[in-house]
Amino acid sequence: MENKEQYKVRSEPFYQAQGDEVALYEAAYNARLPVMVKGPTGCGKSRFIEYMAWKLNKPLITVACNEDMTASDLVGRYLLDANGTRWLDGPLTIAARIGAICYLDEIVEARQDTTVVIHPLTDHRRTLPLDKKGELIEAHPDFQLVISYNPGYQSLMKDLKQSTKQRFTGFDFDYPDAALESEILAKETGLAIEVCGKLVQIGQAARNLKGHGLDEGISTRLLVYAATLIKNGVETKAACRMAMVRPITDDADIRDTLDHAIDAAFG
C-alpha cells in the first residue's frame, strides 16, 4: 500500500470563501459525489480543492492533464524490468486504492478516450477495471473524483462530452468582486489594502478587454504575483508591468492601454 501520508496537505492553505461553496463541497463529499469546478484561469479553483482536502483531512492526488495523456497515464501500465514486466499503478488507481481525492486539473486538455476511463468510478459502481492487468478495483470509501475545467477554452474540439459532464456536480468560480479580491491579495501577501485595491482596479480594466484582443483577463493569481513583488520591495509600476501586463499580451495597443491604466491608478 502506498504511503497515504505523503499525499496529505500539511498546513492550512489560505482560501477566502466567496459564498457557501465550502459547505456545499462538504455535502458533496459526504455523499461521495464527483465534483466539477469551472472558472477562468487563476481564479482559485485548485486552491479551493487543496483547502477542502486539508479541511476534510484527506489525501489529495493532483493530475495536470495534457493533450498527449493516455488512459494508461491515469490508470497505470506494465513496465519492463530485468526479469520481465512489472505493473505500476497510475495516479487514478492509487487514489482509488488509498481513498484519496483525485483532482484532474484542466480535464478538457486530455483526449476524449482518456476521459472515458473515469466513467465507472463516477457512478454508483465506483469501480476501476484494469483491463490490461485483469483486475477490478473497488474504490476506497473515502475516494472522490474532482475535475476542473476552464470554459474559456471552449471550442468545438475542446469540450466535455455530455456523458462525462452529467456525472458531476458543479461549482462555478469567477474572479471575486473588487472588495473581496483586494482583501484576498492583502491576506495572501500582507500588502496594504489600498494598494491591493488599485491592483484589482487594473485587473478589472484588463478583464473588460476580454474578447477585444485579450483571451483572458488578468487573473487573481497574477495580481498576487504583482502584490508579492511589491511587498518584496519592487517598484510598484514596474512590478505591475512585469507581473500583470507583459505575461498576458504581445499586442502593442493593449500593452499600451494597460500601462496607461497602471499609470492612472498609481499616479
Partner: protein, 756 residues
C-alpha cells in the same frame, strides 16, 4: 482729402511725399500704417519700407497691392528680419511681370501669417522660393496660343497658406504642392479645386503630411482605453479641425457616438495620445456621473457657471478613481491670471470661472480672491460627502454666477486668454430644452445630409482604394471609388443550356474531381494506442528491447481526417472588348466566358470549396463598378445562374481597384489557402489614364499587396498579345489561353491543376 492732408503732421507728410502716391484708399490708412512702422522698424528698415512701397505703388496694378503691403510688411519684417521688406517687393514684382498679378494681393495678405508659422529668415525665404517654384511650374502656355496663362491654382493656394502652414511643416507643404502639380497641372479647374483644399485627395494628401498624433493611428488604443478603464463601449467618431478653423469644434458626444478631433498635437510635454485620453476620460466621466438638466430658464452665463462646476465634479471623481490622471488634468488646465479681474473695461467672466475651476481641482493653488476660495471650499465640502450630484452642482454654479456678477461681464471685450480647458467637451449632453431653441448646435448636420444624398445614388456606399503611382513610387490616396452592387439577375435557363452543351466535358471532369476530392485520411504515427500497428516502429522497439534498453512504446499509428481548405474568388473583367466575336466561331468572348465560368462554378461546387464570383468594369476612377455574382457561402443555384446568364460587357478595365476590393473580401475568409483568379481579355486601361503603364503598374502593386496578405493571385488571359504586359503584373502566375474557344475546357482544368 484736403482735411486729412492738413491733419497730417509734418513728419508724416514727408513720408507721404516719399511714397509719391495718389490713391485715396491708401491715403486713408497711411497714417496708421506709418505709426506702426515707426515703432517697429529701424531707420534703415523704414527707408526700405517706403522705397519698396513706392515701387509697388507704381507697378500699375492698382491700389490694393500697395495697401496690403503697407499694412502687412512691417509685421513680416519684425518676425523674419527687414531684408524681407525688399524680398516681398521683389517677388511681388516677379509675379506682376509673369502674368500672375492676380496672386499679388493674396500673397501679401497671407505673408504675415506665413511668417508667424515660419519665424526665421531662412524658413521664410524657403517659403517664398517654394511659392515661386509653384508659380513657374503651373504658369504655362497652351499649344497654338501665343499668350502665357497665369497659374490657376496660385491665388487659391495663397489664400489657404495660413491654415496649411499651421498644420504641416514646410517640407509637407512642398510635398502637397508637388502632388497637386503632378496630377493637375494640365487641368485648370481641378487644379483650382486641389489648391483651394476642396478636393478629397487634396485633403488626404495634406492629412498624410500632418504632424501630431492622428486619431486613425490610435483608434484601437483609445477604444481599448474606453472599454478597459471605463467599461464604455461607445463608438468614437473623429471630426476634422482643418477645414473648420473658425468654429474650432470641441469634443462632444451625443447619441451617435463620442466625437473627437482627428488629430491632437503635442502640447508642451503632453503627448497627443495623452490629450486624447484626457478628453475621453472627461467624457466617460460625464457619461457615468452626470444627469441631464432642464435649462430653458437659464441664461448663457448661468449655463456657463453650472457646466464649470459639473465639469469639475466629474474631473474630481475621475481623479479620485484614477489618481494618475491628476497630473494630466492639471497640466492641461490653464492657470488664469487673477489680475485680469481688476480691469473694469473687459468681461472677466471666463477668467473667474477658470479660476474657480482651477481652485476646485488643484488644492495647492492659492487665490487671493475670497469668493473664489469660498466656492472652492463649498465644492470640496459637497464632494467630501460622496459623489454629489448634477443638481447640487447646478445650485452651486447658479449661486456662483449670482455672486460674481459685475456690470463689466456684459462687455463685448471678453478675456479668453488662459480660460479654455483643453480636454473638456462642450457639454451639450447636459442640457434639456423643453422648447426648441435657436442655439441648438447643428454643426454636423449638413454632413449627414450630404451623406444621405450620396447613398441614394448607389446601393452601397463607395469604398475608396489607393492607387499606385509608379512614376512617383507612392500611393495616390483614396483614388479609385468602387461601387459594389448585385449583378442584375436573369433566367437560369441559359446557363443550364450551356452546361447541357458541355455534358461530355462535365462527365470527364467529374472523374478528375472525384480523384482530387479530399480523401480525408492522414496518418498519425508514434501513437501508444492506435488503430494499427506501425511495423517500422514496432521492429525498432523490439530491437531496443532485445538489446536491453527501454523500448519506445509508441508503436501504433492512427488516422485523422483532413480536408481541403481553399477559398477562391473569381473576378471577371466585364469590359467592352468582351463583346467582340471570336474569330472562327460565332460566339463572343462574353459568351465563352459565361460557359467557362458556369463549368468552373459547377466543378468548384462539386469540390465544396468556398467560391465567390464577381465582375467589374470601370468608367474613370470615380466609377469602378464591382458586381456581386456569387458569394462564398451562396449555393450554386438558379439566382446565381441567372446572374451569370445576364452578364453584360461595357466600359474599361481598372484592374487594380477591383483586385483590391475582391482581396478585401477574400482576406476575411477563414481558409488556409486563398486564391484570386482573374479572367481578363486585355490589359488594364481606363479612359482617364493616358499612360498605358500606369494601370499596369498599379495592378502589379495590387498583386504584391495581395501576396502580402497571403492571397495567391492567378490570371487567365485571353489576349493573344498579353505576353507584353501580363508577366509584368503577375510574374509567373498566369496562363494565356490562345484559342479562346477552348476556354470552357481550359478554365476548370486550370483550376484543378492549381489547387491539386
Amino acid at each position: 482729402m484736403a482735411v486729412e492732408a492738413t491733419a497730417r503732421s509734418e513728419e508724416l507728410e514727408g513720408y507721404w511725399q516719399r511714397l509719391g502716391c495718389r490713391f485715396a484708399l491708401v491715403d486713408a490708412v497711411f497714417d496708421e500704417c506709418m505709426k506702426e512702422a515707426l515703432t517697429s522698424l529701424s531707420p534703415a528698415g523704414l527707408d526700405a519700407y517706403l522705397d519698396n512701397a513706392r515701387f509697388i505703388g507704381k507697378m500699375g496694378r492698382g491700389a490694393e497691392p500697395l495697401l496690403v503691403y503697407l499694412e502687412d510688411a512691417p509685421r513680416v519684417a519684425v518676425l523674419v528680419g527687414e531684408q524681407s521688406l525688399t524680398d516681398l517687393r521683389e517677388f511681388a514684382y516677379y509675379m506682376s511681370t509673369h502674368t500672375n498679378f492676380k496672386a499679388i494681393v493674396p500673397f501679401l495678405q497671407t505673408c504675415a501669417a506665413a511668417a508667424e508659422c515660419l519665424p526665421t529668415q531662412e524658413l521664410f525665404k524657403q517659403y517664398v522660393e517654394l511659392v515661386r517654384d509653384m508659380m513657374d511650374r503651373t504658369t504655362g502656355s497652351v499649344h497654338g496660343h501665343h499668350t502665357t496663362f497665369a497659374s490657376p491654382g496660385l491665388p487659391e493656394m495663397l489664400k489657404q497658406v495660413p491654415s496649411i502652414l499651421s498644420l504641416v511643416p514646410l517640407g509637407g507643404f512642398k510635398n502637397w504642392i508637388d502632388y497637386g502639380i503632378r496630377y493637375y497641372n494640365d487641368h485648370p479647374e481641378r487644379q483650382i479645386e486641389y489648391f483651394s483644399l476642396q478636393s478629397a485627395d487634396s485633403k488626404a494628401v495634406l492629412q498624410r503630411e500632418r504632424h501630431g498624433t492622428l486619431f486613425i493611428d490610435n483608434e484601437r488604443k483609445l477604444d481599448l482605453y474606453l472599454r478597459g478603464l471605463w467599461q464604455d463601449p461607445e463608438q468614437l467618431v473623429p471630426y476634422s479641425q482643418v477645414f473648420d478653423s473658425l468654429t474650432k469644434p470641441t469634443p462632444y458626444y451625443d447619441d451617435d457616438g463620442i466625437r473627437v478631433p482627428d488629430v491632437f498635437d503635442d502640447l508642451g510635454d503632453i503627448r497627443g495620445i495623452e490629450r486624447y485620453r484626457a478628453a475621453l476620460a472627461h467624457m466617460a466621466a460625464h457619461r457615468r456621473w452626470s444627469t441631464k438638466m432642464v435649462v430653458d430658464n437659464w441664461s448663457p452665463f448661468q449655463r456657463l457657471g453650472v457646466e464649470v462646476f459639473e465639469d469639475c465634479r466629474v474631473d474630481f471623481l475621475t481623479m479620485q478613481r484614477f489618481p494618475g490622471l491628476r497630473r494630466l488634468f492639471l497640466a492641461l488646465h490653464p492657470i488664469p491670471d487673477e489680475r485680469l479681474l481688476d480691469n473694469p473695461e473687459a468681461s472677466a467672466i471666463r477668467v473667474k470661472l477658470a479660476m474657480v475651476s482651477r481652485a476646485m481641482l488643484d488644492p495647492d493653488y492659492e487665490y487671493k480672491n475670497t469668493d473664489i476660495r469660498e466656492f472652492a471650499n463649498r465644492f470640496h465640502e459637497a464632494m467630501a460627502a460622496g459623489e454629489s450630484s448634477s443638481p447640487e452642482m447646478s445650485r452651486l454654479g447658479l449661486s456662483f454666477i449670482a455672486r460674481m456678477r459685475r456690470q463689466s461681464d456684459l462687455s463685448p471685450n471678453v478675456y479668453f486668454q488662459d480660460t479654455e480647458v483643453d480636454y473638456r467637451d462642450d457639454n451639450r449632453h447636459l442640457w434639456i430644452y423643453l422648447e426648441k431653441g435657436d442655439d441648438e448646435d447643428t454643426l454636423f448636420e449638413h454632413l449627414d445630409i450630404k451623406k444621405k444624398e450620396e447613398e441614394e445614388l448607389h446601393a452601397l456606399p463607395p469604398r475608396h482604394y489607393d492607387e499606385w503611382d509608379y512614376s512617383n513610387q507612392s500611393y495616390r490616396p483614396d483614388w479609385a471609388s468602387v461601387y459594389e452592387m448585385k449583378h442584375p439577375g436573369g433566367s437560369p435557363a441559359k446557363v443550364d443550356a450551356l452546361l447541357e452543351k458541355h455534358a461530355g466535358l462535365a462527365k470527364r471532369m467529374k472523374r478528375i474531381l472525384d480523384l482530387i476530392k479530399p480523401q480525408d485520411k492522414v496518418r498519425i504515427r508514434y501513437q501508444e494506442e492506435g488503430s494499427e500497428l506501425d511495423l517500422d516502429i514496432a521492429i525498432r522497439s523490439l530491437i531496443d528491447y532485445k538489446a536491453g534498453s527501454q523500448p519506445d512504446p509508441r508503436i501504433n499509428m492512427s488516422h485523422r481526417t483532413d480536408g481541403r481548405n481553399i477559398a477562391v474568388s473569381l473576378v471577371l473583367d466585364l469590359s467592352e472588348s468582351l463583346n467582340e466575336k471570336v474569330q472562327g466561331s460565332g460566339q463572343t468572348i462574353l459568351e465563352l466566358s459565361q460557359e467557362a465560368v458556369s463549368l468552373l462554378a459547377w466543378s468548384v461546387e462539386h469540390l465544396g470549396d468556398p467560391f465567390a464570383i464577381s465582375g467589374f468594369h470601370s468608367n474613370t476612377r470615380h466609377d469602378v463598378r464591382y458586381y456581386h455574382i456569387k458569394g462564398y457561402n451562396e449555393p450554386w443555384d438558379d439566382s446565381v445562374k441567372g446572374r451569370i446568364g445576364a452578364m453584360q460587357a461595357a466600359w474599361s478595365t481598372r484592374m487594380g481597384a477591383a483586385m483590391r476590393h475582391a482581396g478585401h473580401y477574400l482576406k476575411a475568409q477563414p481558409a488556409d489557402k486563398k486564391l484570386l483568379l482573374i479572367l481578363t481579355d486585355g490589359e488594364p486601361a481606363d479612359i482617364d489614364t493616358r499612360d498605358p503603364q500606369s494601370l499596369i503598374q498599379d495592378a502589379r502593386q495590387a498583386v504584391k499587396e495581395l501576396d502580402r496578405d497571403g492571397i495567391y493571385t492567378y490570371c487567365i488571359n485571353l489576349d493573344p498579345k498579353a505576353d507584353e504586359y501580363v508577366s509584368d503584373i503577375f510574374g509567373r502566375q498566369y496562363t494565356i489561353v490562345d484559342k479562346i474557344e477552348q476556354l470552357p475546357v481550359k478554365l476548370p482544368e486550370l483550376f484543378i491543376a492549381l489547387t491539386k
